[in-house]
Amino acid sequence: MSRILTYREALREGLDEELARDPNVVLMGEEVAQYNGAYKVTEGLWKKWGDKRVVDTPISEAGFIGMGIGASMLGVRPVMELMFWSFHSVAFDQLVNNAACVRYMSGGLCHCPIVVRGPANGGTNVGATHCHVPEGLFAAFPGLKVCAPATPADAKGLIKAAIRDNDPVYVMENTLLYGTSGEVPDPADGDFVIPLGLADLKREGSDISLIAHGRSVLHALEAANILQSQHGINAEVLDLRSIRPLDVDAILKTVKKTNRVVLVDESKPFGGVSAMVGTLIMEQAFDDLDAPVQRVCSIDAPAIYSPHIENEQLPNPRRIVEKVLSMA
């Protein structure tokens, strides 16, 4: 049995279940407790679990994330919210040095079972400093794991996997997905966890592969519908879900099947997840390609504020369709 939940509710259910499962799990972040979360993901959890398990922090991201890392080395399992993932910039050292390297530098003596989560997306007209999508940035650091769920079920399954994982996992959510709904298995039917590193074929197709993650998956699905109905092109949509570990097998499989690929990635075009996936495909499936892999990324500028135009800066179904048609 499954129920329809919003992405937000699915995350919350995942957090709630993990709080119940393991007394070492503690949620921390700005406004996560008494205010119920800036985006209401943690609504009700402070009331239910109290001051010890759900903790409001000052606006000190380096301080409280570093604190979580330190506590995790002793066995506490902090799940820390960045109100926006964009605020990683003030905690970067803790995120990429202490969390990513402490295991290595100690020859495996320390470990760091933390989760950092929060929304990482453009599209809400909040300007350049609030719209970073740092999946690729963090996945570049060995020692870190990164995922970016696109649906409510994936959000629940991945947040639970992230919390149980014994390595630092950075979960990139999306403010524009929080309100979207979808089926999520009933807890009564058993523990629902989606392993990191497993992509999901969100739509089968034969003519071209659209590979995406996060909200771009929804754009890709919409584009696939348009391609099918208006152009007779049957596109396959692969949702990476997890960026590191990355399901390279699933990527190569769809490439071998369709021989044509468009990568959809909200990153800026210099680097990002798509440059990595593009390079991987070239390195490992060069002979399977009938055409060069193409990409639809955000237009290469800081994020513009104007609500009249921001959506045009981001990948969107129209831009994906145009890119696919340009490859014909």
Binding site: P58, G63, T124, T129, I304, S306, P307
Partner: protein
């Protein structure tokens, strides 16, 4: 707090306030009224869906920006966080460019690229409008550094919130300011809350936040923000210390915001009691208090005050019309204002690829 009709100390008699002509007093009052009316119009059209993103209202805090910036000399500069409308108008930006910015239009002060949190007017000494909490504090330090470097007798007023004091960059800025003797005045606009978190739940301190300055051997003071005369009198001392002695100061101005953290903040009547909000509006509103004060001084009459109010409302309404009728940015506009060199089509801009759109 005492009410402004019987202030503990009468700051109207401070030399810097005594020097104010009746016209300048009316200007100051007018500025406070204009900020409020501008924002009320913004609120209305935000709710009508004309803007995107966040709207952080300054209503209740008007005396801080207008009072401090009324002290500006030709080489003084200003920088603040995302709650920036009051500062923008106070430096002399007009309502049209500000409203159009929030509407995301080409005619906005930042061409619709910055939005409500990112107003700029460098020609008026105003350097934004910054969204990352406390991220502007090293910039404010740097503006003041630049003034000293260039031998100008000016200072930079750098504003931040009570929640922002716990960011590392601010601490680094305080030490640098004191160590290098930089003419910067940091102004904590203490409205008691950072989003839904009261000051005492976000900061550990002794006495007050500004007292942290002592750890850096820096001067500090606390100001009652409901009295714009006090704001001016005490800020003037700090600005003179900066300009003449190159010594920084940390000021804490007690103030209050009447609305939520942003208009998205539906909780703001949960973390604060209605009585608390009402008390501020009734007894500590800086505009009402200054209005009464100026009327008592004979500088203002009820009629003139009402006329000022009405004019401000009309100006705000006109700015809405201007904003609404202005053109939106185009897709091509997304790709400008990234590099100085490419915008100015210099020789350097023609070498190598700067943009990587596929």
């Amino acid at each position: 707090m005492t009410s402004a009709s019987s202030p503990a100390l009468d700051f109207s008699q401070s030399p810097i306030n005594q020097a104010l002509s009746p016209e300048r007093k009316i200007e100051l009052f007018t500025m406070m009224v204009r900020i409020r009316r501008f924002e009320q119009a913004a609120l209305k059209y935000y709710n009508a869906g004309k803007m995107g993103g966040f709207l952080h209202l300054y209503i209740g805090q008007e005396s801080v920006a207008s009072g401090t910036i009324s002290l500006a000399g030709p080489d003084d500069h200003f920088i603040t966080a995302y709650r920036c409308h009051g500062h923008a108008l106070s430096v002399g930006m007009n309502m049209n460019e500000c409203m159009a910015e929030m509407f995301g239009k080409q005619t906005g002060c930042s061409k619709g690229k910055g939005g409500s949190m990112h107003f700029f007017a460098p020609d008026k000494g105003f350097w934004g409008g910054h969204g990352i909490v406390a991220g502007q504090t090293p910039l404010g330090l740097g503006l003041a550094y630049g003034l000293k470097y260039q031998g100008k007798e000016g200072c930079c007023l750098c504003y931040l919130g009570d929640g922002a004091v716990n960011q590392g960059a601010f601490h680094e800025s305080l030490n640098l300011a004191a160590l290098f003797e930089i003419p910067v005045v940091f102004v904590i606009e203490n409205n008691g809350y950072s989003m839904g978190t009261s000051q005492k739940r976000s900061s550990s301190f002794r006495g007050c936040l500004a007292q942290r300055a002592e750890g850096y051997d820096m001067e500090w003071d606390v100001i009652n923000g409901s009295d714009v005369y006090e704001v001016r009198a005490k800020t003037h001392i700090a600005m003179e210390r900066a300009r003449k002695e190159h010594k920084p100061t940390l000021l804490e101005i007690d103030t209050y915001r009447y609305y939520g953290h942003s208009i998205a903040d539906a909780n703001h009547k949960k973390y604060r009691t209605p009585e608390e909000i009402e008390n501020y509006k009734q007894n500590h509103d800086p505009i009402n208090l200054f209005r009464r004060r100026l009327i008592a001084e004979g500088v203002l009459t009820e009629e003139i005050a009402d006329a000022i109010n009405k004019a401000a409302q009309e100006e705000a309404a006109a700015s809405v019309q201007f904003a609404d009728q202005s053109p939106a940015p185009t897709i091509a506009d997304i790709s400008t204002d990234i590099y100085w060199e490419t915008d100015n089509q210099t020789p350097a801009s023609r070498i190598g690829r700067h943009f990587f759109d596929a």
